[in-house]
């Protein structure tokens, strides 16, 4: 009887959460369903995919998108694209060092006090492609390219949203829609087309406008592992890389979680036995 009560209590607590907020359906096409290696309680990052994704970021995205929360050393951390068990301290990882050295960062020369550019070290963060947000806006027709370090967490739908928007960018606009110069139609972007649509209001197209020109193309990035470079492959890999950039501790979190869950189940079992024993002779 008591166990039943416990179960019904747990069910009620769960129901409180399931009945929680449901966001209103925004106007966008259903996101493309992608199977990710990092899904589920035992999910992990696919290191080769992260390396391909990093290459897409480096060669395509990074010319406009900053990633100011990620340091070069993070690339060599456990779970990261260039983690190598031989180098537990990612600052020693030669791959990380060479990636960092490719970038130039601003510094102050200690002798003259002049502002100089020096090669980045593993401790530096990815530098922004623009000096400041005004420069970023001016270079992109007023739309500031968002920072990519947390973008997956900052968009409903996460990595699937990134994948869908990147592949849907530049879709031919539906009849009746006028696309202003410097903008592109994207059915997956959460938006509102009412200001740009002059047809039958009941046939309002889903999606919205995006200022980013379609970024990817077949064979735009030559993958080092020989994977065929299609738009979908590039988009999927860069979305996975961005997932890692936003949540680099995911593997550690899920592994710790497993140990904690096992402990808690055993501990609660012991406490339940103890509870039954103490209350054995007490009517209640």
């Amino acid at each position: 009887m008591t166990l039943n009560k416990v179960l019904s209590l747990a069910a009620l607590v769960g129901a409180v959460f399931l009945a929680g907020p449901v966001m209103a359906e925004s106007s966008q096409a259903p996101l493309k369903d992608v199977h990710w290696s990092f899904e589920g309680p035992f999910g992990h990052y696919d290191q080769e995919q992260l390396q391909r994704g990093y290459k897409v970021y480096r060669e395509v995205c990074s010319s406009c998108h900053a990633m100011n929360q990620v340091a070069f050393r993070n690339l060599g951390d456990p779970g990261g694209p260039f983690f190598d068990p031989k180098y537990p301290n990612s600052n020693d990882n030669p791959k990380v060092k060479s990636i960092a050295a490719d970038y130039k960062v601003s510094d102050i020369d200690g002798d003259s006090g002049d502002v100089i550019k020096r090669p980045a070290t593993s401790a530096d963060y990815f530098p922004s492609p623009y000096a400041n947000s005004a420069a970023a806006a001016a270079a992109n027709g007023g739309a500031i390219p968002p920072d990519m370090s947390l973008l997956v967490k900052a968009r409903e739908g996460g990595a699937a949203y990134i994948y869908s928007v990147v592949t849907g960018d530049g879709t031919a606009p539906p009849a009746g829609a006028t696309i202003p110069p410097g903008k592109y139609y994207d059915p997956y972007k959460s938006g509102d087309m009412s200001a740009n649509f002059h047809g039958d209001p009941s046939k309002m197209p889903v999606g919205g406008l995006i200022a980013m020109p379609p970024p990817l193309a077949d064979n735009k990035v030559a993958f080092d592992d020989g994977t065929k470079s299609t738009i979908n492959q590039e988009a999927r890999d860069v979305a996975a890389f961005m997932q890692w950039a936003a949540d680099p501790k995911m593997e550690e979190r899920k592994q710790t979680g497993l140990a904690v869950m096992i402990f808690l189940v055993l501990f609660s079992g012991l406490l339940y036995a103890s509870y039954r024993r103490i209350w054995r002779d007490v009517g209640h």
């Binding site: 907020p21 900052a154 509870y275 209350w279 007490v282 209640h284």
Partner: protein, 430 residues
């Protein structure tokens, strides 16, 4: 303490200390406190809430060691410093951020339990009032804590809530300026919210001490609502309820851990991963789930001042409950009519919570056209929240009249009777 002390100092040191600072006697009396033997699992939320408070204070103190309360530094210190670089920072913040939601899950169930079993009635009115004070302090603390990461939802949540106070006549504007320290929500606001967010949990802990004191004067209520009549009605708090509360806490921790380790962002909003921008309001601005019912009441009313007063009044009704409900029967086990209205009230609160998360003109029944009344179509989220809000307040009127006219079922002579003779009580609700 309402029960005579049973503590006997055994050693010389204990006798010496007992006549100077009887702290061992104090603790022993709390552990041996006579507690009704028929408390069910709904009564474990007090212990669960104490656990939540300790978890929040401990993780919060640790997070404050890594946090930078400035407009330029706050977001980075949380998302880059704590989440990426601090050892176990992701875990500690995950516990603290989700812990706030867990705290509210527990407090809502604790409050509903108190209403269902009539735990606010004489002689426990002060106990109830102190609980309401804790609840208000919790909301203030949670709100200020949500501002600290300085994301888009933090910023705009702070702006909306502080503007609520500005609706009050005369005092509204000066108080808002005092909260802001400027012309709008800005760096000074963030800094003082951090200071107050650090302070308030200790105020909560102090009021919790009063709450427990006020509990130990009349002793616990119980599911029958019948007063304790003899020693056979009670058992010592320890070990009987320490182990029961402990078991409940571990079950609670399992649910807590699911969120911390597997759904760390499920209760948050994606917009809060974007740094605060005073020039752009997010398209969907929604408070945390535990404030949604009140948010829906605010939106349901087309007048700013009345909306704010209704929001305050919806919490104020809880304070007044002991004086609204005049029924002499405590537990709703024996008040089937009151029980029915209470369950509908829970449904109304759930509707309000759902409405709070939706667009105000969203349709309830898709495709059905309806006429406009007071700015919104009848077939809209706003009208569902209006009807629900009406019932939310109407419930308290119903409770008042039920207390005068309702015919309750027979109440058992002793709180222990239902256990010995289940047939003696008609349809106990569990």
């Amino acid at each position: 303490m309402s029960h005579p002390s049973t503590y006997e100092p055994k050693t010389g040191i204990e006798r010496w200390l007992d006549s100077r600072l009887p702290i061992v006697r104090f603790s022993a009396d709390i552990l041996s406190f006579p507690t009704p033997r028929n408390l069910n699992y709904w009564y474990t939320f007090g212990g669960i809430l104490s656990f939540c408070l300790v978890v929040q204070i401990v993780t919060g103190i640790v997070l404050a060691m890594h946090y930078d309360p400035s407009g330029t530094g706050a977001f980075l210190s949380v998302e880059r410093g704590i989440m990426r670089d601090v050892n176990y920072g992701w875990l500690i913040r995950g516990i603290h951020a989700n812990g706030a939601s867990m705290f509210f899950v527990a407090v809502y169930l604790h409050i509903l339990r108190g209403i269902y079993y009539g735990s606010y009635k004489a002689p426990r009115e002060v106990l109830w009032l102190l609980g309401c004070v804790i609840y208000v302090l919790m909301m203030a603390t949670a709100f200020m804590g949500y501002v600290l990461p300085w994301g888009q939802m933090s910023f705009w949540g702070a702006k909306v809530i502080t503007n609520l106070i500005g609706a009050l006549p005369l005092v509204g504007k000066p108080i808002t300026t005092l909260l802001w320290g400027g012309f709008s929500v800005d760096d000074p606001t963030l800094n003082r919210f951090f200071s107050l967010h650090y302070l308030l949990p200790f105020v909560i802990a102090a009021v919790v001490a009063l709450h427990v004191w006020a509990l130990h004067v009349p002793g616990n209520n119980n599911p029958t609502g019948v007063n304790v009549k003899s020693d056979t009605d009670t058992v010592a708090f320890h070990p009987y309820y320490t182990v029961k509360d402990g078991f409940a806490i571990t079950l609670f921790m399992i649910m807590f851990a699911v969120f911390v380790f597997y759904l760390p962002d499920a209760l948050g909003k994606a917009d809060n991963a974007i740094p605060a921008n005073p020039l752009v309001t997010p398209a969907h601005i929604v408070p945390e789930w535990y404030l949604l019912p009140f948010y829906a009441i605010l939106r349901a009313i087309p007048d700013k001042l009345i909306g704010v007063l209704a929001l305050g009044g919806s919490i104020g009704m809880l304070f007044a409950l002991p004086w609204i409900d005049r029924s002499h029967v405590k537990s709703m086990r024996y008040r089937p009519t009151a029980r029915m209205y209470f369950f509908i009230w829970i449904v109304a609160v759930a509707f309000l919570g759902w409405c709070g998360s939706q667009e105000p003109d969203g349709k309830l029944i898709p495709g059905l056209e309806s006429f406009n009344l007071i700015d919104y179509p009848i077939n809209s989220v706003t009208w569902l929240s209006r009807f629900s809000a009406l019932y939310y307040f109407g419930y308290f009127v119903i409770v008042f009249f039920l207390g005068l006219y309702e015919k309750p079922l027979p109440v058992p002579d002793s709180l222990y009777t239902p256990v010995l003779k289940p047939s003696a009580v008609a349809a106990p609700a569990e």
